[in-house]
């Protein structure tokens, strides 16, 4: 029987299925961080049990860490305690930790792939919704709650019901100035923030195939913003090339053996999807969000929807959203003043993102009244940026290159956007208060964010490209 990519992986990870209930899904790789793990360790301790397979767990500290002066103790007491709890828990249970000061530290969804820990055909979980990122390698990867973190600790398994399957095909050539972030914001604007709830989403088509691994990760990262259980892309030569030689990638004969199985990971020609969507790459322009969920996006060149023109899903929330954002129905988004530019997060903080921004801003200076934060996704990304001299380009442009962490994506650590201020951000969520209480987030690609950094307002990046 023909199978989808998702089914090929799912079927080989089922330990057993409960009658009229979920399946017991075996988990290959479990990433953890300081925020969603402490209560799970406490739960284990209460039961008097240890982590079953500590060698399949990898930890880092990212959500709560400062992005300046990381060599100093964390100032904020609760954040410090949470990071210390992670250190202690990992030591107690024999889990590898890439904490602050370690050359592999970084955002959990950046370090997994760059270390070669993330591989095709795996089941991967983490107590973080953006675990969907790892699906770019042809893995089933999804975010879980803390009770589920405890389940995986205790049994290396999870109880899961099989989701429905959706395929989103993006075919054709991308326009100038359009990058993978624009693709995913465009899809979101079409299918809304709940358009994929209950589905595992496979991204396919020639435009997806043409993307680098890092660009593919941006797309899978935001599949959760459509509500998708996970997002995945069939592995191909681009995938294999990316993984080969990485720290934890298979070596020698083991590589050949794995590669042979990875090459079988694709949806069979006549495999069945519950839903299929087709998108023309040519229809996608540089995108930006105007509202308070990631589905509320438009092309930079378009006007903000009105209650008449908006999709039904967001109609009832439009007025509330625009009041929060301080924006008007029917107005241009282009020309909107911005106060902060944040380039970072598990969506867009990889070396290619930084290179893209650097090559665009080289020789340019930021607008005087804009604060620009560049937050690399990991210590390795930071080191590479410095090695390539990208740090100098940012310095000359007046951009601040900070240290790795989740930073201003989520208003949890020290990096927050003040109330009422506009931040054009390469992160993934524009929810009310996401970047700090009262902060107003405009989600966009690294290129569109960089353009705003130079002009001081929302800009169609194509007008600045040669």
């Amino acid at each position: 029987m023909p199978k989808t990519l998702f089914e090929k992986i799912w079927d080989t990870h089922i330990v057993k299925t409960i009658d009229d209930g979920p399946s017991v899904l075996y988990i290959d790789k479990h990433f953890i961080h300081e925020v969603t793990s402490p209560q799970a360790f406490t739960g284990l301790n209460k039961r008097g049990i240890k982590v079953l397979r500590p060698q399949q767990v990898v930890a880092t500290a990212d959500h709560n860490v400062p992005t300046l002066n990381q060599h100093l103790p964390i100032k904020e007491e609760l954040s410090r305690k949470q990071v210390e709890a992670l250190i202690q828990n990992c030591a107690e249970h024999g889990i590898e930790l890439y904490g602050l000061g370690h050359p592999f530290q970084g955002i959990v969804h950046v370090i997994g792939p760059e270390l070669g820990l993330t591989q095709p055909g795996m089941t991967i979980v983490c107590g973080d919704s953006h675990t969907s990122t790892h699906g770019a390698f042809g893995a089933i990867a999804f975010g879980i709650g803390t009770s589920e973190v405890e389940m995986v600790f205790a049994s290396q398994c999870l109880l899961q019901s099989k989701p429905k399957l959706m395929r989103i095909n993006v075919d054709g050539e991308l326009n100038k100035g359009v990058v993978s972030k624009d693709i995913v914001l465009y899809i979101l604007s079409k299918i809304t923030a709940s358009g994929a709830t209950g589905y595992a989403v496979e991204f396919a088509g020639s435009a997806i195939r043409s993307l680098s691994m890092e660009a593919r990760m941006t797309i899978c990262n935001m599949s959760i913003e459509m509500g998708g259980r996970c997002g995945l892309i069939a592995p191909d030569e681009t995938t294999f090339e990316y993984i080969k030689g990485r720290k934890f990638a298979p070596q020698g004969a083991e590589w050949d053996k794995k590669l042979a199985t990875w090459k079988e990971l694709y949806s069979d020609a006549d495999a069945n999807f519950d839903k299929e969507i087709h998108i023309k790459a040519e229809d996608i322009q540089p995108m930006i969000t105007y509202g308070t969920n990631p589905g509320m996006g438009i092309a930079v060149s378009e006007t903000i929807p009105t209650t008449v023109t908006i999709n039904e899903n967001d109609r009832s929330g439009l007025a509330k959203s625009l009041t929060y954002m301080g924006l008007e129905q029917g107005a241009n988004i282009k020309g909107q003043k911005v106060d902060y530019v944040f380039i970072g997060s598990c969506t867009n903080s990889r070396i290619e993102d930084l290179r893209m921004v650097a090559s665009f801003v080289k020789g340019k200076k930021k607008a005087a009244d804009v604060e620009v934060w560049i937050v690399p996704g990991s210590k390795q990304v930071e080191a590479q940026a410095i090695k390539e001299g990208i740090d100098k380009i940012f310095e000359e442009a007046g951009f601040q290159l900070r240290q790795p962490g989740c930073s201003a994506c989520l208003g949890m650590n020290e990096d927050k956007i003040p109330a009422g201020k506009y931040c054009i951000s390469t992160s993934n969520r524009n929810f009310e208060g996401r970047q700090g209480a009262g902060a107003r987030t405009l989600l966009a690609s690294p290129l569109t964010a960089a353009a705003a950094a130079i002009t001081g307002f929302v800009t169609d990046v194509r007008e600045l490209l040669n």
Binding site: V24, L159, N293
Partner: protein, 194 residues
């Protein structure tokens, strides 16, 4: 986990769609290392102006004295966004045992069930009917029969829950107990794959 069988209660309506977990519990309150005490920060930034507990927003249902009960009723796509289980903990700690909506985000639904909070997905029409009721109306949730009823009008609707999850919730069992009990199956699976 606390068992749940039937609940007869008034409800608190929050007629807003796409309520994300950052609204349910903002990220700055996720620094705890225990599961306790999140209820006081439930919907924090919708309850207070400028994060100031003396400045309550009079128009937010949790601040309106006429609304009370163990059932939260909210617009569609409830619980989208972050996987933070703190959202379920804050709802439970505040005193809710049931959340009713016409659509739930996946991760929230699992997190709720894992904490003895029952997410009930109803039809758009039934949700509309609940929102039309006055604040004295009680709802009855019968988990055994899988029904939710608006007591004043007698309108009733069935809801889905897998029989496994239903048994867990009726008895207060959790998934971890089950998974530990099948450890031999898991080890056998690992051996076969190796």
């Amino acid at each position: 986990m606390k068992a749940l069988t039937t609940i007869k209660s008034r409800f608190v309506p929050i007629n807003i769609e796409n309520i994300d977990t950052d609204q349910i519990i903002p990220a700055r309150f996720l620094k705890a290392t225990t599961k306790d005490g999140f209820g006081k920060n439930l919907f924090r930034d919708w309850r207070y102006y400028n994060d100031d507990e003396s400045k309550t927003r009079a128009d937010f249902p949790l601040n309106m004295s006429q609304f009370d009960g163990e059932i939260l009723v909210a617009g569609k796509n409830f619980g989208c966004g972050s996987s933070r289980e703190h959202a379920a903990w804050s709802i439970l700690d505040y005193g809710f045992r049931v959340v009713v909506s016409s659509f739930f985000a996946d991760i929230f639904k699992n997190n709720a069930l894992n904490n003895g909070v029952l997410p009930i997905q109803v039809s758009d029409e039934f949700l509309k009917s609940i929102f039309l009721q006055d604040n004295n109306t009680e709802l009855t949730v019968d988990l055994e029969k899988q029904t939710i009823t608006i007591n004043s009008t007698g309108e009733s609707e069935g809801f889905y829950i897998s029989s496994y999850k239903k048994t867990c919730l009726l008895n207060g069992y959790d998934d971890i107990d089950y998974l530990i009990s099948i450890k031999d199956d898991i080890q056998q699976f690992e051996t076969q794959r190796a």
